[in-house]
């Protein structure tokens, strides 16, 4: 996707040897664990919905030919997947596009935000404008580290360019909209469930080992390995995003 980078600089590193780790079918600490291997034990409706998600990737309908390279490069940095073999990457962008094409919202719009479709269009413009001001190139043409530098400025709530856009739209809320949509697409996919060792659907069968983090007979135990984020990235560190008291970052999902 990215023009000036070779794949190796995009790979996570072995912390001891500082060498890139090989790409895998299934990263994470649960090797061999497959939620889809249990699908005969799921109810028919759930099985159909999850199989459809894996097997039927929606085509791009919302983003324009100009927007597509930018948002595609952005998604590749917000949920980087270069540790996955190419055929086992999760199509995050297509699911964001699908939501926008269908105009599916989650029940509200912040009063200081435009409509979510406009928010994406404006945000893509702002990201590309920031890339051009900072590096004199469009966002997809930047090196991965430069792309992360641009995205980190938005994460931090710093407005390096496109001030007229950030006047119409809260930079912090745009960041949260973007990251939320990316992670909602990625972690809805059964391959991501395998990666994190999540048990997935369990009706009608049930979970039976509830305490102590014990695996069900069909789950597997954790086998950890150490890894560092690629040197071409800025995202393998945790810093609070730039939300201020005027735009408090707070949870969107229902938990209680």
């Amino acid at each position: 996707m990215t023009n000036h980078s070779n794949e190796r600089e995009l790979l996570p590193l072995d912390p001891k040897t500082r060498k890139p780790r090989e790409q895998m079918e299934q990263p994470g600490y649960y090797p061999g664990y497959k939620t889809l291997g249990q699908k005969k034990f799921w109810d028919a409706t759930t099985r159909a919905v999850v199989e459809e998600r894996v097997g039927n990737i929606p085509p791009i309908r919302f983003f324009s030919a100009e927007e597509l390279p930018v948002i595609s490069a952005v998604c590749d940095r917000i949920v980087p997947q270069h540790d996955r073999l190419p055929q086992f990457r999760i199509p995050v962008l297509n699911w964001i596009d699908e939501r926008l094409a269908k105009n599916e919202i989650s029940g509200y719009r912040f009063e200081d935000m435009p409509d979510h479709r406009d928010a994406y269009r404006l945000g893509i413009q702002a990201i590309d404008a920031t890339a051009r001001i900072k590096y004199g190139k469009s966002f997809p043409e930047l090196r991965p580290l430069e792309q992360d530098t641009i995205l980190k400025s938005i994460h931090d709530g710093e407005k390096w360019a496109a001030h007229e856009i950030w006047e119409r739209m809260s930079i912090d809320r745009f960041w949260h909209l973007l990251v939320q949509d990316c992670v909602a697409a990625y972690y809805a996919h059964p391959w991501a469930w395998d990666e994190i060792g999540y048990g997935g659907p369990a009706y009608p069968r049930a979970y039976t080992r509830l305490e102590g983090g014990l695996p069900e007979p069909w789950e597997v135990d954790e086998k950890r390995y150490e890894w560092d984020g690629p040197e071409s990235s800025l995202s393998d560190a945790y810093e609070e995003s730039g939300a201020t008291s005027n735009t408090p970052a707070h949870g969107q999902g229902g938990t209680h």
């Binding site: 409706t45 980087p80 919202i105 029940g107 509200y108 979970y207 393998d236 707070h250 229902g254 938990t255």
Partner: protein
């Protein structure tokens, strides 16, 4: 095990309407003609509307429920999947603002028969006696026009009806026990119990939750699959969809789904005569009714009343006090996330299964009024990733890394009392929905007492998390539940409805849902809303046809009609001896 012994699980029968794996009703149900005048038209079939529909039908009234969303078939429509459950929520546009804007939709609003009770986590603590006299006791908020004692018989009744699993002795508020035994703990409950025990905080394990720990009638017990807030396909978690709606239909009530109420129609200045609504094709209809009950919850109820402004009620129906839409409340719902060296696997067991109310009451040693509860929560991967986006500022490789540790994290929630303030409110925005109706604009601002309470509560939960052995503790600010905005009160000048839910301004128009709550305590509101609905139903039944014709308001307490409880309330399930 490669496959279930009889092969993969097949799709459920489609010639019946499935309400859980065992409970079925016929597909054909009663349908009133538009020009038939029903006794009661209930707008919204959620926690309150479901109970009202069942009670009024069982007592012999002609009753019809309008519901904006679908009439779910739980086997065919619901899934064990976060993304696939998005349709359970009220996803239509609302505008949210103020200094501390609330997330809506999946956070707190349901759509479809059963309403929010379909996706509640089903914690069912009672309110404490002190919740009913907050103003008298603490000089803040408001008093209720009823006391705890007036609601207590309904708590006892509904805890059997839906029914509630929990400890034999629950020590806080008015101490009591539960009809079904407590649930086994999962990893998160262990964390709460361990942390609290270490700090000398009393804690309650295994409930109270409206989730079956043993089978009950045609409802199986919990299988601990963790998808409570995605809709319980198992039928173990109570929702009015499976507890009250089936019996309502059996007694002749009509459930009219995919029908979006647009305004309440007035016969004259004093009396309503029906409800205008849009059907699924967007055609407008008028349903005649002798009385109307609005049960649309804390946003849609005031929105409908505001959208029903008419001659003589220019500021919205039932709004002579100017308080319609005001005193909206959400509870502080900060989530505290702790990473443990060992595995937790918090996706197993219901998210709701242990709590403490040790900090519920006002403590003069603290610098704020009222208090909070600490409860287990357990986000599934998508919700957890969103929490990590906020709590750790995670994205990119950092997001991938923390998510690979999903099974090491446990989450606890603050459930804190935010006081009723007039500037927290529901109004009409200029934007319109697909039917051309003005959408709600919700404004929410934290005040000084609220901020101090949240700070204290959050820090206390972080302490508990550390005490349980977490090596890293982070938190995310958020809010849970929505109540208020049509509050009940004795004074017509400062409230919208009286203590039975009758609007002060229109004698045959009632509001019955979370919006009538004057204050909210630190208890999840679902059970209290169902209790208020059963009590309003008893009042309407006791008053009989006088409701439809007379302006006179009898404020006497009606008898508790235990015989109207749903079947199996007293005869099925796990016996608990007194």
């Amino acid at each position: 095990m490669k496959s279930p012994i009889w092969g993969e699980f097949k799709q459920a029968r489609d010639d019946v309407h499935n309400l859980g794996p065992l409970q079925r009703i016929g597909k054909e149900t009663k349908r009133y003609r538009d020009d038939e005048e029903v006794d009661y038209c209930i707008v919204g079939l959620g926690s309150a509307g479901g109970v009202l529909l069942q009670r009024l039908a069982k007592a012999g009234f002609q009753v019809l429920g309008l519901e904006a969303g679908p009439f779910w078939d739980t086997e065919r429509d619901w899934v064990s999947d976060e993304k696939g459950s998005h349709k359970l929520y009220w996803n239509d546009l609302r505008i949210t603002g103020g200094t501390d804007p609330l997330a809506l939709g999946e956070n707190n609003s349901g759509k479809g028969v059963g309403g929010g009770s379909v996706h509640w986590a089903a914690f069912t603590p009672r309110f404490h006696p002190s919740d009913f006299r907050v103003y008298t006791q603490d000089g803040v908020g408001a008093d209720w026009p009823i006391s705890y004692d007036e609601l207590k018989p309904y708590y006892e009744l509904l805890e059997r009806e839906i029914p509630v699993a929990g400890p034999a002795y629950f020590p806080w508020g008015d101490p009591h026990g539960y009809p079904y035994g407590p649930h086994p703990l999962g990893g998160v409950g262990d964390v709460l119990v361990k942390g609290c025990t270490k700090l000398g905080i009393r804690v309650c394990a295994g409930g109270p939750v409206a989730i079956l720990s043993g089978s009950h009638g045609d409802r199986p017990h919990c299988i601990y699959r963790g998808f409570c807030i995605q809709g319980c396909k198992v039928g173990a978690k109570a929702s009015t969809l499976i507890t009250h709606i089936p019996e309502a239909i059996r007694y002749g009530a009509e459930v009219r789904a995919l029908s979006m109420a647009s305004r309440i129609s007035m016969r004259n200045r004093e009396q309503a005569n029906g409800v205008f609504y849009f059907d699924r094709e967007g055609r407008e209809h008028f349903q005649r009714a002798k009385a109307v009950i609005v049960s649309g919850y804390a946003i849609e109820t005031p929105r409908l009343l505001l959208n029903s402004a008419c001659q003589g009620h220019e500021n919205g129906l039932a709004n002579s006090s100017g308080t319609l839409g005001r005193y909206l409340m959400a509870q502080a719902g900060n989530v505290v996330l702790g990473r443990f060296p060992g595995l937790i696997r918090m996706y197993k067991t219901p998210p709701a299964h242990a709590l403490t109310e040790e900090f519920y009451e006002t403590d003069p040693k603290r610098d704020f009024a009222r208090g909070f509860a600490i409860q287990t929560v357990a986000p599934l991967p998508v919700a957890f990733a969103k929490q990590m986006m906020v709590a750790k500022g995670a994205w990119g490789w950092g997001m991938r890394r923390v998510m690979m540790d999903y099974n090491h994290w446990a989450t606890l929630g603050v459930l804190g009392e935010i006081l009723p303030w007039p500037d927290n409110r529901v109004e009409l925005a200029e934007e319109r929905d697909g039917f051309g109706l003005r959408v709600a604009k919700v404004t929410f601002n934290l005040h000084d007492n609220d901020k101090k309470l949240i700070e204290f509560g959050k820090n206390k939960v972080m302490q508990v998390m550390h005490a349980a052995g977490a090596e890293e503790v982070v938190q995310e600010a958020r809010y849970a539940h929505l109540v208020g905005a049509c509050r009940m009160g004795a004074d017509q000048g400062t409230s919208v409805v009286d203590k039975f839910g009758r609007t002060h301004d229109v004698s045959n128009l009632f509001v019955c849902d979370g919006s009538v709550l004057p204050t909210q305590g630190s208890a999840n509101p679902g059970l209290t809303i169902q209790c208020l609905a059963a009590r309003t139903a008893d009042y309407l039944i006791a008053q009989g046809t006088r409701i439809f014709t007379s302006e006179i308001r009898d404020m006497g307490t009606p008898p508790v009609r235990r015989e109207l409880a749903v079947k199996d309330s007293f005869t099925k399930g796990v016996p608990r001896l007194r």
